[in-house]
Subunit: 330 residues, 2 copies
Amino acid sequence: MTVTIKDIARLADVSYSTVSKALNDSPLVKPETKKRIIELAAQLGYQPNLAAKSLVSRRSMTVGVILPSLERVALSALVGRINDKLAERSYDVLLSTLPPASAVRLFHRLQMDGIVVFEDIAPEAKHNEPVPSDIPVLSIGVSQVNGAKYAMVDAKRKEAIKDAVHYLTRLGHRRIAYVGDHRDSDDKQQEKVAGFLEGAFECGLSSASALVLDSGGNTWKHGFDAGRRLLLNELPTAVITGTFDLTAGLLRAVQDGGLHVPDDLSLVSYDNVPQLAELDVPVTAVGPPVDLYAEHIADTLLAIMSSDEAARRTVLLESRIEERDSCRKI
Amino acid sequence: MTVTIKDIARLADVSYSTVSKALNDSPLVKPETKKRIIELAAQLGYQPNLAAKSLVSRRSMTVGVILPSLERVALSALVGRINDKLAERSYDVLLSTLPPASAVRLFHRLQMDGIVVFEDIAPEAKHNEPVPSDIPVLSIGVSQVNGAKYAMVDAKRKEAIKDAVHYLTRLGHRRIAYVGDHRDSDDKQQEKVAGFLEGAFECGLSSASALVLDSGGNTWKHGFDAGRRLLLNELPTAVITGTFDLTAGLLRAVQDGGLHVPDDLSLVSYDNVPQLAELDVPVTAVGPPVDLYAEHIADTLLAIMSSDEAARRTVLLESRIEERDSCRKI
DNA sequence: GACTAAAATAACAACGTTGTTATTCATGAG
DNA sequence: CTCATGAATAACAACGTTGTTATTTTAGTC
């Protein structure tokens, strides 16, 4: 049997409402009594029943995060940071890898105060069952199927990759490749490709000297394979990679091929995460810094949660270049 | 404002207790009324408030899973299966990647009916704060620091690897390598090494022909690197790998090195997951099949949850060989 | 058409909290 | 010594459910 405030009340010989006040550090109870009760509670290993709490307060101080998996390093890192940021505001974070529709239903039943969706598809896309409008949903980079329905935080991916092209061009590179996942289904990846092509155009690169390589996926393995293929043909002087994992894999492949980064090949990676500094060669990154990303997600979520007149807003995060040792002037 | 049974009651012009019964398909309400209420509820997008429900029923029908990350394929797969199995028994699963102590506290506050811990360290190891004894905890393969404190499901890793050695020996292999993570901190990995050595001894292999390679980690990358190193020295005729990810990486490395599996090298992998069949070469596996694993975890959890006189039991799962195309007779 | 049994529905208590309102208990002023 | 004042504590209602108990409605009997 779990210990409740009533148990504590009985043992401390006070009423249970006094216990409640004492544990919430209310000024209405005598410091002495308060101390006695708090100590007793700690000793009994009392944990407040969140169900009861949320029932009366109408909020659970809990948010749910829906994600496909934690296999991508950058996503894993981001979720960790979001957890931290929300914990600072005393919210707890729970994860689910269920299909979005089921996860949302579950979170709704659990009275979560907010939901963050990392899926590529909008929650109602599958079964066409609309998400209840009374629970704030923040979707991260989902293609807005039916108008701006949810609040959204997203990265300016196109700008980010474009920035990378400009950056490399300024360093003198005239032959650049973009390596990324190229499946039609995923708009986010498409956006990066578009950024690359626009950037190349703006910098006056010929289409022959702006190579797009389809990695067919976003894992280390895909990056490695792409790096391999890169080595088979005439090399570019610089490569831009679409995700952290791709970068790590590709770096390994080209190093294995006997190339030195940045002497033989410059490298810029999307996914502005600190892990890029820990690779064999610290790699220059573009994209919103993960800390900033997490902070904006947390802030936006808190914003739409507090204003019941849901401020369905879209935040587009600016990219920032994080220069490291993977690029050189030529 | 969320819709409650009282809202439905008002609209249907019945008492809220009737609504409750109708929604729970009680025989005490007229079929006609029942139907009307159920339709109305669906139309309003009603979702039962789990907080209220668990408050009165003293159980949340929810279990929490604590894990370090979902980066390992086999773990990811296992969690997915557990989710399915528990869903069949109408339990919901929530995940947390918080440090075990915090996650347990959170789950306790949320009144979860049970907890599954996938961490390498016991929950109380960090801050020495004991887990409340009133919430059933099932730990997966944790080294039992202070006696058999929690229920536990674990794999007979030692036997599994030993089986692999015997299997390969029967096929005629006399020079076998084991590739795995070798950090002292992780007992699970140590167990596999021990299995390898014992197996080698039993099969009469000389210590020179039973190689142990430390991969230094359990990811694709570590496997790849280990494969690379393998190629540098005199090759064994067969390799046993400690995890799915190691196998995938190592397979790639040796294929890159111009070897053919199984003609030039036989391969057996720990982690009995179906994903092994989808690699370039379908790889023979040892270890408890993931389905069986998930089922036992679900069953054991349900068992210790139902018997309040907690049946703190330990289940050790037998390994099974899943033969595929990665081994040949010599 | 009054009476009973059964069926249907309504009313109520409880779960563990919090916030509000009511009560008790000192303390000090007159 | 009585009374007002304020501090400390107790009692109570409410949150959204479920299960139990009480009440109403319906149908069947004579």
